[in-house]
Symmetry: C2
Subunit: 466 residues, 2 copies
């Protein structure tokens, strides 16, 4: 039975048995309570799959995809489910392919600065392993404690540190991928410089599982910096904090992180973490520099100078590694803190060139006020990656209409500032309806041409990314 | 008339007139002496086009491609023609699209760290413009004084500085591209973080003009470092110089450049430049560090320590900017110096992980000796990007057979070391026959699937890259 979109609407027992025989009892789930567990991510839309498979090898995934192709069954790969754009939600049913059992670090090679991992490896676990050898993997999404490298790759995840170090795609040297047909391809290598054939890593990063299932990833890693300095700069005016960011970036300084919080967020974070944030402040910058001891001291002096020039009322430095870690933990807790206020929290990530930051912040604040919403503004400010967090209640239809209107206005403003819809969270299902604001029709058609060439039956995560 | 490969073998006068009417008299070339000028690059194969067009706008290129598609005429884009893999040589005839008249820097924005250029802008000219504002564009291929940004993009060019700073694709934020159909697409943005739709920049970088004609490029730029230090470390044993490289990289130091030359090259460079290189040395490292004053001093001390531990017999520091520039000019003159010895010089760029460098250098030297060739070895050693330079005479068939055998053995050795066929020069026509050593059949088929989807009649630079 073929339904809307050409997908089989329900899977018959015979086909289920075939999938069962590929992965075996322990890696097969089809009880309703199991299916519900795989029906959502951190976005607001839910949809249950017909089947959940937890493969342990490339060979199994190849067999699964051959069978899924034959029967036109949608296959949606899933890491930790921490996406906030609905990317791993199986909106057309079919199979959720949970990659969590493929979680081995296959090799770490610090002499040649790479590691090879399976997609289910958790970002934070990889960091712990690398730290033992004095290395690190720069991309640090807020979810790093639980999100997987495969999921990070699918969304081309960023994070605070990406201001200085770049995003996931800057670290992917090679991959193994199972295509919709079940064929296995391998590209890239262990070499930072490699121009042999098309550069497919770039295409797969951020493609949200719509082009293939990634089964092995070779990542570039870096030596840990010798020293860090972490400071909080406090402002009585949000514009002053934004101007400080522009001044720092404009002066050619590249901090490891440059995070902005507004008063709403300062207070919800302090409510939850109780680490002494200045509740009366209108704007807060959390700034980190890294490098040699000499370099961090020098950059710190330049940065605090810029902050003082822009009327910073206080500048506090983390005195111990524990204090530093507490500040970062607080920053990473933003979403969960906001979620205490109302049942739902929508996080946007429109991104603009850094010089447009003050204009963008003023604009977002005005839009939030215009629609009477409860929202805070945070930003990976150094790279103009805005994160307005809007507290809301999905059951309140009137409020959700205001939220929708506000989001659309925020995107329009970002476009007017030469920005983009999403800096690091991805399109998923959350932003597909806005895509045409950012990508013109011929370009979107071109993306669909590529997708169709690679996945002619459209079984791979249908309805996402493009 | 359709010949081998399905392309029209000669263009009739009526079609030529249509192309003429698109670009006008001053931008149209079809005299034999003109065609010969566009029949070669710095590789050894020559083939004249039927027509050379020098468009000045995206609109003209769109019209050209519509017409070429209609008549199945091959179109090969060409920058400065400095490719060393035959990428811009029109081996199936048709049109050479010279991009040299689209050479405007459209915007430089240092506050937001990007610039927007037309593809015909020369890398060196862009560097001069950026230097005025205290910024630079890191990729620095040996050809940077004359090669174009469009050509750099098509080959995903690297260079010495790419050890620390990454290659061309690490700096491309967005593009405008004319497809084979004549349709114009635009993707990416001015934002470093951008996950809106597929990440097409990654795919187009290094695709050698086989997927589309790039007409505008947005590049990330960086603030110039405060200080440089440039040193020469001299060794009586090539293995010691290679071991020094491994030790530096293994210790977590990342110089801006780390170049190796063997005795043959030290002497040909000294013959041509007369800058006082140590003619008796077996190995030479040209090392540059950049950053803050404190950082470069510290790194320099660490690096010279590693060199001394590996029996460096002399370490000389460039005392003035002029001395530094002379050293780099000498390094960039390698190919032309080797070309003095025999009529031809074949430059390979097999690349291996840095720890394999000593093994690879010993192996290449053994292969060169085995086949009795006149060759020197240079390397962007920090990233394992080998450049054996083989002097030869294309008219000497017996010698060329030895050259071919040696190259194939070098590639086999690189593969055994987890390396790749090409680090930065590209595949073009030079290395297509070796592709299957590095890329398996399903993966190569996948690349051809993408190519066919995007360019169904195969008019864009046929016979290259994949």
């Amino acid at each position: 039975m073929i339904g809307e979109g050409g997908y089989q609407q329900s899977m018959n027992t015979l086909i289920k048995k075939k999938f069962h025989s590929i992965v075996g009892d322990d890696h097969f789930r089809d009880r309703p309570e199991d299916l519900i567990s795989y029906s959502y991510d951190a976005f607001t839309v839910e949809a249950a799959p017909d089947l959940v498979l937890l493969p342990v090898s490339t060979t199994q995934i190849s067999e699964i995809l051959k069978l899924a192709s034959e029967h036109r069954i949608p296959v949606t790969a899933r890491g930790a489910g921490s996406s906030i754009c609905g990317a791993p939600v199986p909106i057309h049913g079919g199979i959720v392919l949970s990659m969590t059992m493929m979680n081995k670090i296959l090799e770490t090679n610090t002499a040649d600065r790479y590691c090879i991992v399976e997609p289910g490896v958790i970002n934070g676990d990889l960091q712990v392993e690398l730290a033992k050898t004095g290395f690190f993997y720069p991309p640090d999404p807020g979810s790093m404690a639980f999100s997987t490298i495969g999921g990070n790759l699918a969304q081309n995840a960023g994070g605070p540190r990406c201001l200085k170090y770049g995003v996931t795609s800057d670290y992917v040297l090679g991959m193994e991928v199972v295509l919709a047909s079940g064929e296995v391809i391998r590209f890239g290598s262990r070499n930072v410089k490699d121009v042999t054939g098309y550069r497919l890593s770039g295409l797969f990063c951020g493609s949200e599982g719509t082009l293939g299932i990634v089964t092995e990833i070779t990542l570039k890693v870096l030596p840990q910096p010798e020293a860090y300095r972490t400071v909080l700069a406090v402002f009585n005016n949000l514009d002053d904090s934004a101007a400080t960011v522009s001044d720092i970036i404009g002066a050619g300084i590249l901090p490891a992180a440059l995070e902005l919080l507004d008063k709403v967020l300062i207070n919800v974070v302090e409510d939850a973490n109780n680490i002494g944030l200045p509740r009366g402040a209108e704007g807060l910058l959390l700034i980190e520099v890294d490098g040699s001891e000499e370099q961090v001291e020098k950059e710190l002096a330049l940065i605090t100078g810029k902050a003082r020039n822009n009327n910073a009322v206080d500048i506090q430095q983390a005195r111990t590694p524990a204090e530093r870690e507490a500040l970062w933990r607080a920053r990473r807790s933003l979403y969960s803190c906001m979620a205490r206020l109302k049942p739902n929290c929508i996080v946007e990530d429109a991104t603009v060139p850094a010089s447009k930051l003050p204009e963008m912040i003023r604009g977002i604040r005005a839009i939030i006020n215009k629609y009477g919403l409860l929202a805070g503004i945070s930003a990976h400010a150094g790279d103009g990656n805005m994160h307005p967090l809007i507290s809301c209640d999905m059951r309140d239809q009137e409020e959700m209409e205001r939220v929708d209107k506000a989001i659309e206005e925020i995107f329009k403003l970002a476009m007017a500032c030469n920005g983009t819809l999403s800096g690091e969270h991805g399109i998923g299902i959350a932003k597909r309806k806005y895509l045409s604001m950012s990508i013109d029709e011929p370009t979107l058609n071109f993306m669909h041409t590529l997708k169709h060439a690679v996945d002619p039956h459209g079984i791979l995560n249908p309805g996402k990314a493009i």
